[in-house]
Structure formats: C-alpha cells, structure tokens
Amino acid sequence: MAPSFDHLRDEDLDEDDFDMDEVDISDLREKYEVQLDEGYDTFVVIDGLPVVNEDQKPKLVKFLLKKLATVGKTREDMIYMPLGDDGMSLRFAFVEYSSPAEAAAAVRQLDLVALDKKHTLRVNKLTDVDRYGREGRVEEEYTPPKIDEFQEKEHLRSFMADPSGRGRDQFVMFRGETVGVFWNNEKDQPENIVDRQQWTETFVQWSPFGTYLTSVHAQGVLLWGGPSWARLKRFAHPFVNLVAFSPGEKYIVTWSNRPIAIPDSGHPVLSLDDDGKNYIIWDIETCKPLRSFAQLDTPAGPVDDEGVKKAPKVSWPAFKWSADDKYVARLNPGASISIYELPRMNLMDKTAVKIEGVVDFEWAPATPRRDGVKTYEQLLCFWAPEVGSNPARVGLMSVPSKQIVRSLNLFSVSDAKLHWQSDASYLCVKVDRHSKSKKSQATTLEIFRVREKGVPIEVVDTIKDTVINFAWEPKGDRFVIITTTEVPGAAVAPKTAVAFFCPEKAKGNAIGNFKHLRTLDKKNSNGIYWSPKGRFVCIATVHNQQSSDLEFFDVDFEGEKPEGEKDMTANLQLMNIGEHYGMTDVEWDPSGRYIATWASAWKHSAENGYHLYDFRGEPLREEAIEKFKQWAWRPRPATLLSKEEQKQIRKNLRDYSRVFEVEDAERISSADVAVVEHRRRLLEEWHAWRAAMDEELAEERADLGLVADPVAELLKAKQAEIAPDGAEEQVIEEIMEEVLEETEEIVN
C-alpha cells in the first residue's frame, strides 16, 4: 500500500535521523555548479593605470572615458576607481558597460592599448578575474613543463635517393578524388609510391624544396612527407582557401576569404586576437601562428558596363617574401608597403614605407650582389603610376636601409609589370604605354642591370605591339616575349608573335646590349616555359579551344649559326613541335629533363589527362585519365655540390653518361625480352586452347551424328536446286586493276 497522509505512521516521519547538512556535497557542487549570470558580465577590470590622488582622479576618469567609449556605452559614474588608505589610487578601476557584448569588445580591443607613453591598459572581464584569479585556481608552486622524450623523425629528404639509382624525379597527380605520388618512368607506367583517396579537399601543393606535400581541408592545412607519408604538420586555419610558402620553407601563409571566427569555447591554436582575420603567417617548425592579418579594404573594383560593381580582386600572394626569409611585405595599394621582420613579425621601424600611389612591388628572387656594395641587403622594386603632372615611377629599394638605389621616371604609362631574373641580375619592367590620345598601345622594356655599377638602365623600345607575356631564362640573360597586335580580351584568341632577345657579344666578362634575335609570326602561342636550368624553352598555346601547339627551342644550338647572328650570344633552333589537345598547364621537372603538359578537369572536361615530353620535345608518354585535375613535380632543394665539383662533373660528363647509357640499354632490352616472352606465352596459350576446342567440337559433332560442316551440305543442296544439272553455272568476270609502278617524266 502506498503511504498516504491518512495512515501516516510516525516511523515514516523519521527525518530527524537524516541531517542534510551532514552530507558533504562540496565535490558535486564544485563539479555541477551552474555559472549563474551574476550580473557581472557587463563589468571589466582595467589595470595599468597611473597612480592619482583624489583631486586628479576625475581628470583621469574623463580621459579614460574617451578611450572606453570607443567600444561601448559607459558613463563617468559607471567607472569606479577605488582609492587606497593613503588616498592614492590603486592603479586599477572597475568599469560597467551597458551590455555584456560591449564588455567583451572592450577586452578584445582595448587590452594592451597604450594610454600614454608610460602606461599600457590591461583589460579583463570581472568574471574572468574571479574565475582564474580565485585562490587555489593558480598553482602557487612552479612546476616545470614536461618535455617529451626525443623521438627520431623520419628523413624528410629521403625522396632525393631514388631506390633504382637513376635519379628520377617524383610528381604528384590528383585525379578524381585520389591523390598519388609517383616516380617518373619516362615511357613506362609511372611507379606508384603512395595513393590515397580524398587526401585533399581542393588541391595539393609542394613546399619550395619538396620536403612537404600540402593538403587543404576545411579545418586547415596539413603537411605530409617522409618515407611513410605521415602527417607532419598541421595549421588549423578554418575554411582556408590558399596557401603560400616562404622561399626558404620556414614559414607558411594561409588565407581564407572568410574572416576567422573564434568560437566562445576557444580554438586549439588561435586566440581571440585572431578573430576577424583572414591571413595567418605560421612558423612551420613549431606549427605556431606568428601573426594574423585582416584583409585590407580594397577600394571597390571599377564599375563595369552594366553598372555592377566587380568584386575586388584578391591579389595572391598578398604577402611577398624576401629571398632569405628575413622579411615579408604586403602592399597597401596606393599608399605604402608594410615590411615585417622575421621571426618576430614586427613592422620594420614600426612604420610602413610610404610610397605615394604604389601599385605593385616584387622582391628580388635571390640575395643580390651589387657592384661595390658589401653590406647585407635585400632589394625590392615597386612602381607607382602617374598622378597629375607627376611622372610614373619605378624604384629599386634596398632593405633594411630603405634607401632608394635607383629610380626611373616614366610618362604615358598605362600599366607596368615587374619581372626579376632568377639570380636577381636583371630586372625588366615591362611598360605599356599609350599615346596622347590614350588609344594606341605600345610596350617598352626597361631593363635594370642590377649587378653593374650604378644600376644602368637599358631600354628596348623596338616593340610595336602589346606584349602579353615575358619570361627570363632562369640563371641566364636571354628572354622571350609574346606580342599581339589585337586588344587582349577579345572574343577570338588573337594571333601572336614570339620574339627572342639576347645580349650582344661583348669584350671580356661584360654583357652586351640586349638585341632582338628573331621573331616567329602568326602563332597562337601564349605561354613561355623555360627549362629551370635554362637553354631550352617551350612555347605553348594553353587554354585554347582551337589549337594546342607546343614548340621546343634550343637557344644554344651547337650547329651552324646564321650569318646575321654571328655577334649574338644565342643560336636559336626549333627542335620539335607537338600538340596536346585542350592542354591547360605545362610544367618542367626540377632537373630540366622532362616536361609535362596536362588538361585539367578544373578548366574543362574534354580529354583530361597528361602528356610527357623530354627536353627536346620527344613525346614519351600520354595518358587519358578521367577527372584528371592536377600534376605537380616535386621540387628539389638546391644542390650541395660546390661550383668546382659541378664543373668537374660537367667536364667528365661523357664518362658518366656512358655508364648510364649502358644501364638504360640493359633495362630496356630486359624489359623488351619480358614483353616478347609474355606475348609468346599468350600466343601459345591461345593456340593450345583453340586446338583443344576444335577437337572437342569435332568429337561432340561426331557423337551427335552430325556432319562435319552443316552449312556445306546446305549449300550443296541449294546449288542443286538452282542448277539441277550443274550446267548453267554462271561465270562472273571481275576485272581488277592494280597499279604496279608509276613514273613521271618531265619532257622539256
């Protein structure tokens, strides 16, 4: 029977035996205590204030209020600044805002802000002070952080040692949803090293020395490498879109078009400071963010014909690195260049370099060696367009001195592009000029000879048409341009001309003036791809529906030189032509021995796949792969051999090549033998099967009592029916003419 009030016995009321207060529930209370909204959420504590007395206090409060009011609503009487027993303030104050959100904003924006030269504000939430600062929450005693036992890592450069001993290069292929890394096997099927499904979400990328393979995910960027292809590094930048490495592989920049939103629960590596930022610069070794940046408010794009504002273009890479990883710089369009020093990521000299109207800048790709300059420097060049009657300006700046080494004033400039030669020996500024009527376009090339005393500038102004592409020979002093007479951006891809330039022969070690070598007309070409070792260049037509030509040139041809080009430092020779329908990209391998072209499914879906050529343009291999997206050769770090050792190798090249040729021949012949052997076996198996089948069929036919050839009987019967006596057999004559020989004689 359930107890009810009517028959409640005394025993049921024995609550005296049970004392609530005796039960120790402090542990539970601690664990489950609800964070009550104590009403203190709108309060912040400000530390770091100057010490004032009663009289000075209102002045300080007023001054402080100005700062505090920038982030939210507060009043003079909502600032409480307690005074100590001696009548002096205690260097802190409590401030109440009108909402918790404003208090949070104050913490975010005002913390570490300088009040004046001597005082820096520290702003914390009152609730945080309570939560973290309460006695017992912070260990009184110092315990040293635990340092993990040293564990040997995999050798990240092991890929340099080809197990086959042939010094092959690796490449990564991204097709369908699968990413695979392969050894290049020339004509044969590439040898797979690792193949993984869904290794990346958008694309893959190698680090500059080939140490890491980058994969991109919604959660951030991962770096992979070593012989086991393990995950080595992790950069948690949510919704990352693009990735760029510093040239020395020390730092990485990640960018997302979505500003970072740090959730209330916090983020494993990013802090509240990173909230609202788009770029993060990370240290690769430690995987720690060094500094984050918000996107600059780019001036809204020009209004196009329909009156719709174009989305502002994101220029990538936004952060450009000096050749030695010591500086990274970002352009503030039209105003300045911010140069940051690494590894601290502080703004150099605490201020951006002001350059009126600056449009673009480029670092020298190598640490320059200028004539007569002994001190350390990095160079960067920039250009700014004409403003009113002031000329356009191209400048060469030395960093860290911020000294302008050379500057050049130009008029009637509609656009300029900066092209450094890979050793930073030359800088070519391609200047598009317009006439006074702003109509006709012409291009001049202003070439800075960086290594020569005083940085002389040479002008190439023999070009009549618009230059759409320019490329220096890596490590060399020759260049190729592609020009067109038509306006770029027209519906039909314009006809182009490819022109080669090289210096004239000069006395001693001097380098002569740049002279036009040859022009090839009536092309569709739009891409220039120099071998990374120089000398060979591939001119290609990419992203073109109609034509997809490839032309392979040697600029140091060892054969006969044309008479008119005797005093040139180049001898141009077309070695080969090729075609790869629908190709979208071209890339040389790091050794300059092979060149890959591919048609990516990112651009179009017709005939996706790749072709492989050797440096002479001999086709080696082609493969059509559905949903082929990306190919990337694995870069190699710079050689460890000294100049002398390299020279020695070059001298004895014949001896080395003899060994390799023998090896190659052996490998090919053994492969051929295997193929022939395999075919012979297939052929034998087939004929054995046929013989067995024929026999079985004949037996079965005999068993069934059928004639050997049923159709022959039928035909005989039919023949008899058509011509019973066999006399009327019709003879059909067919005249066959065959041409045995054809000779052509020319009669005078």
């Binding site: 329908y581 017709a606 012979r680 297939l682 052929l683 089948m693 069929l697 039928l714 035909l715």
Partner: protein, 339 residues
C-alpha cells in the same frame, strides 16, 4: 583503299550483317527500311519494305536464302532475299531487339523488350530455309528473363547453348534445347548494359561490347572471360575478324550528348585491337556520330561500320593489313611452315 560510303539510310543505323560469302551486306536502321548492298563496290541491290517501326536487328541464314528482321513494330519478319517478298510475320507484345539464326539456319531466336508490364523474353522459332514452305506460327520455346532483361543473345556451336547478354552487365548461358538457365555471370561493370554480342566463326567463343567502355572475349562453354579490351568510350559494338587475330570495337559518346561535342571529343572511331595480346593497334576515323554497329566480312576481305550519322562505311583491307604481324606471330608462322 578508300572506304566506300553507303548513304542509303535516312536515320541512325542499328545493325549491319554480312552474308556467309561476304559478297552481300545487309543493313537496318531506324528509318524502317532494310537495305542490301554489294560489299565489293557499295552498289545497292535492293530494299525490303514493310516494317512500321524502327528496325533494331537483322540476320541472314547461312545459305543467303532468307532474311530475318526484328523491329519496334513488335514483329519478326522473314524475307525472301532474292525477291524482297515478306514471307512471314510473327507478332509479339513488345519490340524485338535482336534476332539470330543458329549455325544451320533451322532455328531463329528473338529477344523481346521488357515493356508495358511484359517481361523481356528470348523466343525460339522453327524456320525452314525454303521460300516456298509454310513457316510455323508457334514458338518452340520462350525463356523469360526475370532478373534483368536480355539486350542481346545468340546461338553457340551445335546450337547447344543460347548465350544472352543482359542490361545489368551479366551474361547467361541457357540450354539450347530446354531453355534452362545454366550459368549467369557478371562480366561487365554492374548496370552497364551489354550492347553487342558477336560470334567467332565456329561459335565456340564470342565478344561482348558494353557501356562500361570495355569489350571482352568469352568462351561459350564455361563463360570464362579470356581477354579484355579496354577503351576510353562507351562501346556499342564489337566484332572478331576472321583470317587475322584482331577484334574491332565501335562506340562513342552517347547519342544524346553528341550535338554538344566535336567529332574529336566524341571518339567516333573504329578501334582495332590484337585479339590475343589485347593491345590497341589502330583506329579508323570517318564517322561523325557514334558507331552503332560494326561487322567483319566472314572471308576476311573487309569490315563495315554503321553510325548514328546514318552512313555505312565499308573498308577493304590493304596489303599492309595482311602483312602486319607481331614478331612472335611471324616466328610461329615460320616454325609451322618449316615443319
């Protein structure tokens, strides 16, 4: 030699067939007409008119006396080859997708479509190779395909088995007399239908073509896949060449996508593969639509292809074709001739 272009059809070709002597070529198309051509010069000998729907299939008996055709008008018809007269019409509830005579021309099988509540079937009819004779009305046998409908079928050696290819990519072996299912094996990718099935001359093995972009050489006795020929386009037809150990595959991007693709991307080429080594040897261009059907001359002199573009192209082989040989083949030939 230059190919001969036969432009007698107004719509897409569906099947072409040589007679046993290789002098005549029969072609059917969606334009409801059967044409017969001289294979050696491409002259049209005549037409057979009467069908009232697209004609899907055709076969000729081994003595080149009568012709069987199957059509979307739900009939199989027999024709006198010489006169063009329609000898017999069998009616079915649905369209007929494939007909084939057995090796001595006494039996004819027909594959009917699955539609309007009717399951796909394979029917067998008795046929007399005689233009004067009265043909039987009754079906000798009906095999109902309950699992996946048959798209193609044919008679093996000795009429021992009926081999059928299905919509789900499998092939079945039925007993030729009782119609009992013996095996059903998936040889192509699931749900990539078989589009063609053609026999070797002695009907002990056959080649299948499928939408999964491969063709396979299969033994009739145990349905063992002996060879696979991979290509880069969905295949509509495949045939085995006599005299030389080659196979010819035809296909191209699906007809419905063709208007948006150039001839280059469409891959409208006949592809030659080595039957034993599975290597691709060469391609023949010419059609500007997918190849719906290819056929090899039983005497080995030529091959023909019929396309979605409405043309039939007859290609006579040159000397180079006969001379072409792999080193190991030559080696074997020399050994045999020496012995």
């Amino acid at each position: 030699m230059r190919p001969i272009l036969l432009s007698g059809h107004e719509r897409a070709l569906t099947q072409i067939k040589y007679n046993r002597e290789g002098d005549l070529l029969f072609s059917v198309s969606k334009d409801q007409i059967i044409c017969v051509w001289f294979a050696h010069n491409g002259e049209r000998l005549g037409t057979y008119r009467g069908h009232q729907g697209a004609i899907w299939t055709i076969d000729v008996d081994p003595t080149s006396t009568i012709l069987a055709s199957g059509s979307a008008d739900n009939t199989i018809r027999l024709w006198d080859i010489k006169t063009g007269k329609c000898l017999k019409t069998w009616d079915f509830p649905t369209a007929v997708k494939r007909v084939e005579f057995n090796e001595d021309g006494t039996k004819l099988l027909g594959v009917t479509e699955k539609r309007m509540g009717h399951l796909g079937t394979i029917v067998v009819l008795d046929v007399k190779i005689d233009v004067e004779a009265e043909q039987d009305d009754e079906k000798v046998m009906t095999i109902v395909c309950e699992e996946s409908k048959a798209t193609v079928a044919g008679w093996s050696y000795l009429s021992k088995y009926i081999i059928a290819g299905h919509e789900d990519g499998s092939v079945s072996q039925y007993d030729g007399k009782t119609g009992d299912l013996i095996y059903n094996i998936s040889i192509h990718e699931l749900n990539n239908q078989l589009t063609d099935l053609q026999w070797s001359q002695d009907r002990t093995y056959f080649i299948t073509a499928s939408k999964d972009k491969t063709a396979k050489l299969v033994s009739a006795k145990d349905l063992e896949v002996m060879k696979t020929y991979p290509s880069d386009t969905p295949l509509n037809s495949a045939t085995i060449t006599p005299k030389k150990d080659f196979v010819i595959l035809g296909g191209g991007q699906a007809a419905m996508d063709v208007t948006t693709t150039s001839a280059r991307q469409g891959k409208f080429e006949a592809r030659f593969y080595h039957k034993i080594f599975e290597d691709e040897i060469g391609r023949v261009r010419g059609h500007f639509g997918p190849l719906n059907t290819v056929a090899a001359d039983p005497t080995g002199k030529s091959y023909a292809s019929g396309g979605e573009d409405g043309y039939v192209r007859i290609h006579h082989f040159d000397k180079g074709y006969y001379d072409f040989m792999y080193e190991v083949e030559r080696e074997r030939q020399n050994k045999l001739s020496a012995a």
